[in-house]
Each structure stands twice: as C-alpha cells, then as structure tokens.
Symmetry: C2
Subunit: 341 residues, 2 copies
C-alpha cells in the first residue's frame, strides 16, 4: 500500500523521471505533446499525486497559507474564514490554522513552526496588530525574517509600514451612518456602548460617532459613552447606566452587545423601539430573529474574505511586495429597532 511516486510513473511509461516531471508540470517545456499526453494518462491511471513535501523541499514553499485568528465563535469571523478557504482552494492553496484564544499568548513558536512548514503566506485575520501590543513586536520580527507575503484584516498600518497588504472596513463611516440615522430620527442624547477603548477599531467608530454629532451641531458628551468589551454581557450592563444618563437612543458598537441590551431591556420594563431606539454594528444573521429586528451596519463578509484571499494569491504569484490597502465601506440596514423620537 505504498504511495505511488514519480518513479513508478516513469517506470510504467518508459520515460525518465525528468521527462515525467516536465510532462506533468504546467510550465512550458520541450516535451512533445504526444509524450506529455501519454505520461499524463498513465499518471492519472496510477492515481499519482506528487509528494508535496518533496516538492516543497525543492521549491521552498508548499501550497499553504497560514492564518492567525482568535474568536472563531464570532459568526462574522467564521464567515470570513470560510470564504477565504473556499477562495484559496480555487488556486490550489489550503489554509493552515493558528487559532488563539486571547488568553493564550499568540506564540512566536507556533508561527515559526508554520514557516518551517513552508507556508507561502500569512493571513492575520484578527485581532489587528495594533491591538497585539508588545506581542506584535515579537511576531513582527519572525514575520519579517520569514520574508513571506502577509495580508491583514483591519490592519491598515501593515500597509503603511510596508509590511503587508490590508483589507479593512471603514468603521468610521459605519459609525457615522449609524449615528446619523439616529440623529435624523430626532434623537439628541445618543448613548454609545463601545468596545475596549484601547482597540483601534473602537476608536474609529467613536470618531464616526463624533463626526455625525458635529454635522448636527450637537456637542459630544463623554458621559454618554459606556465602555464595553464587545461581549453580550457588557451590553446588558450598559443599559442601566445609559438610562441613567437619560438617553433616548443607543448605538452599540457591535450586534453582540446590542443583544445584551435587548435582554436586559425586558427586565427594566423598556420596550424597543418605543422607549429606546437601538442601532447595532455587524449585521449578523441573528439580528432578524430578535423580537424587534435590529437595525444595524452591514459589513461585507464575503467580499472581505475573497479580497483577502485574492490579494494573498496576487502577492504570492507576482512575488510582489507592492502592498495595497483595500477598504470596504459598510452600509446601513434599516430594520425595526430605531424610530422617530
């Protein structure tokens, strides 16, 4: 039950190993069409498939791309992941995973191991390097040393630093749209449930929120900001605080926390949107399941996944270090959770 090697194909076809290799390769070479076809036929009859480790040893890279990611639980992350995998597959590449629960330090060790496996590129799916802190410095060296193409999600700085390409979302604009929607409905005291303020993606959203306020000549009031952590629980906790600040509307920096909001709203006898308008961010599919479907900011998960994959393939194939930053602009999905004041 030994695997069939190129040697077997050579023997079976009567040609030399070199000829077989050439015939099977996509690259132009001087093998005659007749020979090529004969060999290919035999190879396929024998179910020959080249030992990728031998190929990799010779060519210095395997058809694999490493992906570093935390939090697959998040359906949006999962969706991007699947899209990347499917897109990459079209080019014959596979994803090799490196999930990190944020407690675990994202270890250099592991990344080095992937590099040693001959991956052709690295995708930094999340979290963004900006939020990795000192960990990023350690990783950066390993990545730079490996000299592999790298594509990051929500990592515009990668591109600025000429380290890699980036595919990101214009969170500022998304937050602007969400806030404007509430302002247009006549709300003036709009609470925010943010993510950790240290995170870059949180800051962007905060910027968008402020810009919208400016456009409507409303002063930014820090007491309306509740710092959450993008988890359901913090949405629940935010409610009593923000109600105390007398808000009539809340912009939740992600849908997850909006769900928490919905949950605790009931215990406070608050009905959405009658007593409180809510806008979320992410537009996950559960939004439609809520008793009042959640108005949210839609992010193009599929497109983002495809972009990441395509950009990676481009960098690999063109052996290019001509990095670019691709930005997707989200849009508002109006459902029922926000209404005129």
């Amino acid at each position: 039950m030994e695997r069939v090697t190129i040697k077997d194909v050579a023997k079976a076809s009567g040609y030399s190993i070199s000829t077989v290799s050439l015939a099977l390769s996509e690259k132009a070479s001087r093998v005659s069409d007749e020979t090529r076809n004969k060999i290919r036929k035999i190879a396929s009859d024998l179910h020959y498939s080249p030992n990728q480790m031998a190929v990799g040893l010779k060519t210095k890279h395997s058809k694999m791309v490493g992906i570093i990611m935390a939090d697959m639980q998040n359906p949006h992350v999962a969706s991007v992941f699947m899209t990347i995998d499917n897109e990459l597959r079209k080019y014959g590449y596979s994803l090799i995973c490196c999930t990190t629960n944020d407690k675990d330090v994202l270890d250099v060790q592991r990344l080095q191991n992937l590099v040693a496996c001959g991956i052709s590129g690295i995708i930094l799916a999340n979290p963004s390097i900006y939020d990795l802190g000192e960990n990023w410095e350690k990783l950066k060296n390993t990545i730079l040393a490996s000299n592999l193409p790298i594509v990051g999600r929500d990592n515009a700085s990668l591109c600025e630093e000429k380290i890699g390409s980036s595919v990101s979302v214009d969170y500022e604009e998304g937050a602007y749209l969400a806030t404007r929607h509430l302002l247009e409905a006549g709300h003036t005291r709009i609470g925010c449930i943010t993510g950790p303020l240290t995170m870059q993606v949180t800051q962007y959203r905060l910027d968008g929120y402020k810009r919208a306020l400016r456009d409507f000549s409303i002063d930014y009031d820090p007491v309306l900001i509740y710092e959450g952590d993008y988890e359901i629980e913090s949405g629940s906790n935010a409610l009593p605080y923000l109600l105390g600040q007398n808000v009539s509307a809340i912009f939740s920096f992600n849908d997850n926390m909006a769900f928490g909001l919905f949950r605790s709203a009931r215990s406070f006898g608050i009905t959405i949107p009658r007593d409180l308008s809510v806008v979320g961010f992410d537009d996950v599919s559960f939004d439609e399941v809520l008793e009042v479907p959640l108005t949210s900011i839609h992010i193009h998960a599929r497109e983002i996944g495809i972009s990441i994959a395509d950009e990676m393939i481009r960098l690999i194939n063109e052996d290019s270090r001509d990095f670019q930053s691709i930005v997707y602009t989200p849009h508002l999905m109006v459902r029922g959770s926000a209404r005129r004041k």
Copy 2:
C-alpha cells in the same frame, strides 16, 4: 536572509550534522549530555527550526491533521473546531482545513492533496459520513488507501466498520430528555420540527421523541412532525403548520429553528411560553438573549473537541488501529420557554 539549517548549527557547534540531528531529537541516543546541551544552546541561539518539509520527506509525515468540515457559521461547530485546534497544538500539531459548503462536492481531489502534504490523520468534523451518500464511497477509498488514522464527529459507523474512531452525542437521549420535559409539564400534543429526515442525527432525535411518548403512553402521530432543514427559516415556516395541528408545545431539533419559531410567533400573536412551550437542541449562547430564554439540550462542545483531538493523538502516537467510539450524553438546560400546560 536565508533560513538557518541544521548545517549551520553543525558548523557553528563544530559537530557533524548527524550529531546535531541526534542531539536535537527527543529520542534516546548516545550523544553525551554535555554535547546535547551545547548543541541545543547553539541551535536556539541561531533560532534554528527544522525544515518540516525535509523532516516530512524523510519521516513520511508532517505534524498536521486534516479536518473536513462544512458550516463553520454554526457556532457550535466553530467552538468544537477551536477546541480541537488548541488541544492539538499542545502536541505540536496543526490543523489544516478543508471546509466545504454542501453545494460544493467534497472533492476527493482536495483530500488527496492533503494526504500528499503528509498529514498524519484526518478528522471528519461534519457532515457525518452517513449523510455524504455516494460521495462517501469515493472518499472512503481515498482514506483507506492513505491508511491514515481517522476520527469522526457523530460517525459511530466509522468505528463499527473498523475505519476510524468516533466521538458523538447521544441525540436519542437528548431528544428523549427534551420530549419528556414537555410531557412532564402536561403537554400531550407535542409538535416536532425536525432536520432533513434523511439525516442520521435527525432519525436519532426522532427515536428519542418516540421513546418518550411511549413512556407516557401517548401514541405517535405523524401529523405532528414537520420536516425542517436545521435553518432558521424552516423554523418560521413550521409554526403555522403545527399550530394548525393544534399543538401546545414544540420540540425543535435545533436552536436555530427554534429562533425561527420565535420570530414568526410574534406575527401570529402567539406568546411563548404562555400560548406555546418550546424546547430547543444545542444550547448555543444566543439562547439566553431571546425575550424568553430558550430551554434547550446542552451539548458539551469543549469536551467533544478535546476528545476528538486526544483520540487523534492517541491513534497517531500509538500507531493504533484500535478504534473506539466515545459518546457524550447531553443534558437538559431548563430556562423559560416551556411551562406547565
């Protein structure tokens, strides 16, 4: 910026390549402790990490495990996935992914490619081989030919056929618990929203449902069965039909469809649990967010993930084909969506 090889370590240490290899290996050998320490120190100073493709070429396998899975969107699946990855990592293994959206045929081609990459084992995370139909026959041959250890999720038949190990959930018991819960609350006409009836996991649940009915001496009535597809939408569609059958309670074969049920309940002016009791299956975290938290059957995602990984490691390390079938028994999580009739 060339990668440092064993040759570099040899040169730097003054020892031969063989000695370095031996010193760095975990296996017992005759290198003196002194030499071993000296070499290891130098190797680490040089940031040497063995080229896995060369290692693989020689040893015939890389420290990777292939995982075949559809539907990462499902948070339960995602959670099992992450757990497997984290557990496998402890042993130095990485996961290499093969996601399939069910439309795509799960191609033999891809699997062959993974085998050619020297993976050490295959995890069939989902769907179960039972539901793969003729596709399974094709896959099976490739898998058997590769002679790799295989661990399946919800694939007890793998073990029976002596092909691989299996980690599964006792869906029959779970369904029994769900149904009994409703029966004990005095319900007698209990509707079911099933998954596709062709799926094995659906049949198991149906069996559990029937057993509970028998225990309470209630006749099984086929009109109470609505065939769904485990997606939200079919839960919504089930409601008008089952209401027409005059049910007072519904057992949804997964939480997703229960969500659909909740959604459409509102449009029918039905309040859960006042007018209708509902029990779900899966116990995803979202359950708690609903206006009425969903009573559901809890499945031990973490334990399952760890079991799958550990079993895979066992099969690899012991080079064993002594397959086993591990079964987890789910339990009832009582929340608020079902009440006494």
